[in-house]
Amino acid sequence: MNPETMTFNEWLPVIFIGIMGLAVLIYAVLDGYDLGVGILLPMQTQDELQRDTMIASIGPFWDANETWLVLAIGILLIAFPAALSQIMFSLYIPVAIMLIGLILRGVAFDFRAKAAVDHKLTWDRVFKSGSLLTTLSQGYMLGQYVMGFESGWQAQMFSLLSALGVTAAYSYIGAAWLVMKTERDLQKRAVQWTRKAGRATLLGVLAVSLINPLVNPGVFDRWFTYPLVMFVLLIPTLTFAGFVVNDRLLKRLPKENDRHCRVPFFLTVGIFLLCFSGLAFSFFPEIVPGELNIWQAASAPESLKFIFVGAAIVVPLILAYTAFSYYVFWGKATELKYH
């Protein structure tokens, strides 16, 4: 498609893949940190207060965070139904497992605060394992997507690696969130968690970045075509720099007056953004790699226009009141109490 001769109807799928990309990215960042907090939950008896604080730090947000997943899948459903059918057919079991994980952690969150005291630890365990189940299955699905839904053992190995990588990345952003939202001992612990998770994530990102172009010839050509290569190599360079800077900074945290406590989180958000751009650059405009592009998979223009009008009005509003909610709960999480 040539951008200069494209009609509005041909632009619509591009706009919608943009909105969907935005939803997926926001989901990965927002639900990423609360899933990460769930994974990091320390399970010793003496950790109960820290668990309370950690969960309090995500309390007001997790509902809305998960809604971005519903929006992403909703847009896939609305704009690219043919792609959704193919992807869901290939990922039926991992999707079901992810949903079970999401159900478990969502309800555990509420049950733990309300159940009889002796059941609280059980629900905390459910919360942690539900979070882990969710991130592992999401990572596995990402791996399968990159491998074009192959079922051979190489693809399975890669998907398992991706499952670990995504879990590490969510732990990374979750730990960085805790550095920002907590104080004292828990914050010190969170700094250590962030460093470890950051290194694990770096390994994961390196592995995926190396294997992806090697197994997908199309991806290789795209990345290593002169003169574009000079420009796009900025993405991995900046990502690597982000990891290193964050690691150096974390070594010196927490500082006096809690200076720079928010930097790791926003650096991690930056890393997420870069990794996401890299993936998007590898595949756009294909939506099912090697099978369907966004124009082949798109719905009828009149339906896309109808939802586009709504999205243009409502998405900015959603972003606005989401920002308002973060403004209301700005600051350290120790003050947060359930009701």
């Binding site: 309390g59 007001p60 947000f61 509902d63 809305a64 998960e66 809604t67 519903v70 929006l71 899948i73 909703g74 459903l77 609305i78 704009a79 139904p81 043919a82 959704l84 059918s85 992807i87 869901m88 057919f89 039926y92 079991i93 999707v95 079901a96 497992i97 949903l99 079970i100 999401l102 159900i103 478990l104 969502g106 309800v107 969150f109 509420d110 049950f111 309300k114 159940a115 009889a116 719905s299 009828a300 009149e302 339906s303 109808f306 939802i307 709504g310 999205a311 409502v314 998405v315 959603i318 009141y321 989401t322 308002f324 909610s325 209301v328 709960f329 947060l336 109490k337 359930y338 009701h339």
Partner: protein, 459 residues
């Protein structure tokens, strides 16, 4: 051995049945909470605040279960019913999209403020958040029922190459059965919420709670139920007439009418037999079905035999309908008896409290029975006249669907048990201590005019 179609249908039914339990409560409870908060803002009476504080926690629990089971729903179309999206995705997609965009984010974000922000925002903003959450739940109902109604009575579209294309969004959204179904569901939720509130409050009183808050909420629940139950009977009747016009085979199954007849009786009981295409053990009131449905004692009702091969399975529709109506009548009786005692004596006798506790989840029974009638009544169609259920199902192997179904069912049984258990724990806790942390806002000074500590024991 069940095939992929049957397993997928059972899975969809299981997921949506489990899901609807919680929105059925929260749609109404959101407005009840807004009412409590508003009354507190207006009167400064702390009892309203105590009522609010207990019920907002119950609300949060219900809402969380609704959210997570709703996420499962949003994946169902893609995982098990690819034919649905491929054929009518141009209509279903945008309607679902508008639900997510206008309702889900609104509810989830403002619920965060409603639950955790009471000390962080001014009281007015907090009340406003409760209002926004209530509006959000209704918007969500609006969009999903627009889509569901369209599947029953499709309008405003044309078929091009086997795919539905929209010709008028107004006709799609406000399709013939939508206004009736929307009203019927909102009131159903009102009744479910009202009996839920009344039941749990009665449980607290029975467990020896002497405080005023549960009595106030018991009264609120019973009054809402007493007002809504008869309205629901009327709206249900209108909905039935609408169905008769657009889906006569569903009505024939509901009434158990096989041969087209004039002066059809209203069957109180019967056992429909699809093999022999007749009913056994009929007990009925002569001519009443014709009178209700056509407003003429000798009116004609078209029988199932006119639709042979193209009508729903009769038994579940027939019995589901009777169960729903019986529940509705029981609701009217209990709510009115309760209001009578409240007016005459100011409180309920022990036996009636027990009955009200027994009715806690009566709304669930009626709502599910009603949904089964209307959804099974649509079979064999997924979208009436456009797409059959069998044509929409995934080509996946039955084993995969069986695996996911088994997982969901296990989780749902555990969660339902945990949910009811937790409600009991919460109610008992509230009997012993006052809705906890009622003192915090005083220190913060954001919730004004709460009474001093000396009045604490009285309320």
């Amino acid at each position: 051995m069940l095939d992929t179609l049957m397993l997928s249908r059972i899975q969809f039914a299981a997921n949506i049945s489990f899901h609807i339990l919680f929105p059925a409560i929260t749609i109404a409870l959101a407005w009840i909470l807004f009412y409590f908060k508003l009354r507190h803002d207006q009167t400064d009476n702390p009892i309203w605040m105590r009522a609010y504080r207990f019920w907002v926690k119950v609300f949060a629990l219900n809402f969380a279960l609704g959210v997570v089971s709703g996420i499962t729903m949003s994946f169902q179309f893609g995982t098990n019913w690819p034919g649905y999206m491929e054929t009518v995705g141009n209509i279903a997609g945008p309607l679902l999209g508008y639900e997510v965009l206008t309702a889900f984010f609104l509810e989830a974000t403002f619920l965060g403020i409603m639950l955790f922000g009471i000390n962080k925002v001014p009281s007015k903003v907090h009340t406003f958040s409760a209002f926004v959450v209530a509006v959000g739940t209704m918007l969500s109902t609006f969009w999903i029922l627009a889509l569901n109604s369209w599947m029953h009575t499709p309008a405003g579209f044309e078929m091009r190459d086997g795919v539905a294309h929209v010709t008028s969004w107004m006709e799609v959204i406000f399709n013939p059965s939508f206004p009736y179904r929307f009203a019927h569901m909102l009131i159903a939720s009102g009744l479910t919420g009202a009996f839920f509130v009344a039941g749990l409050s009665a449980y607290r009183i029975l467990k020896g709670d002497h405080k005023k808050a549960p009595r106030l909420t018991l009264k609120t629940g019973l009054v809402i139920a007493a007002v809504l139950a008869p309205i629901q009977a009327y709206v249900g009747d209108l909905h039935g007439l609408n169905t008769l016009k657009h889906q006569p085979q569903k009505i024939a199954a509901m009434e158990g009418v096989w041969e087209t007849e004039r002066g059809a009786p209203l069957l109180l009981f019967a056992i429909p037999d699809e093999e022999e295409r007749t009913n056994h053990f009929e007990i009925g009131i002569p001519k009443l079905a014709s009178l209700i449905l056509t407003h003429d004692a000798d009116g004609e009702i078209v029988g199932l035999n006119e639709f042979e091969g193209d009508h729903p399975p009769v038994k579940p529709v027939f019995f589901g309908f009777r169960l729903m109506v019986a529940m509705g009548l029981l609701m009217i009786a209990v709510a009115w008896t309760g209001c009578y005692f409240l007016r005459r004596r100011g409180e309920l006798p022990q036996w009636l409290l027990k009955v009200v506790v027994g009715m806690t989840f009566s709304g669930w029974v009626a709502t599910l029975a009603g949904w089964y009638v209307t959804e099974i009544g649509r079979q064999p169609w997924l979208v009436t006249g456009v797409l059959t259920t069998a044509d929409a199902v995934t080509p996946l192997a039955a084993g995969n669907v069986g695996f996911s179904l088994a997982m969901y069912l296990t989780i749902y049984v555990i969660l339902l048990w945990a949910y009811i258990h937790t409600l009991r724990v919460m109610a008992r806790k509230a009997v012993e201590v006052e809705e906890f942390e009622t003192t915090t806002p005083q220190k913060e000074g954001t919730i004004t005019n709460l009474p001093g500590a000396t009045q604490e024991g009285q309320a």
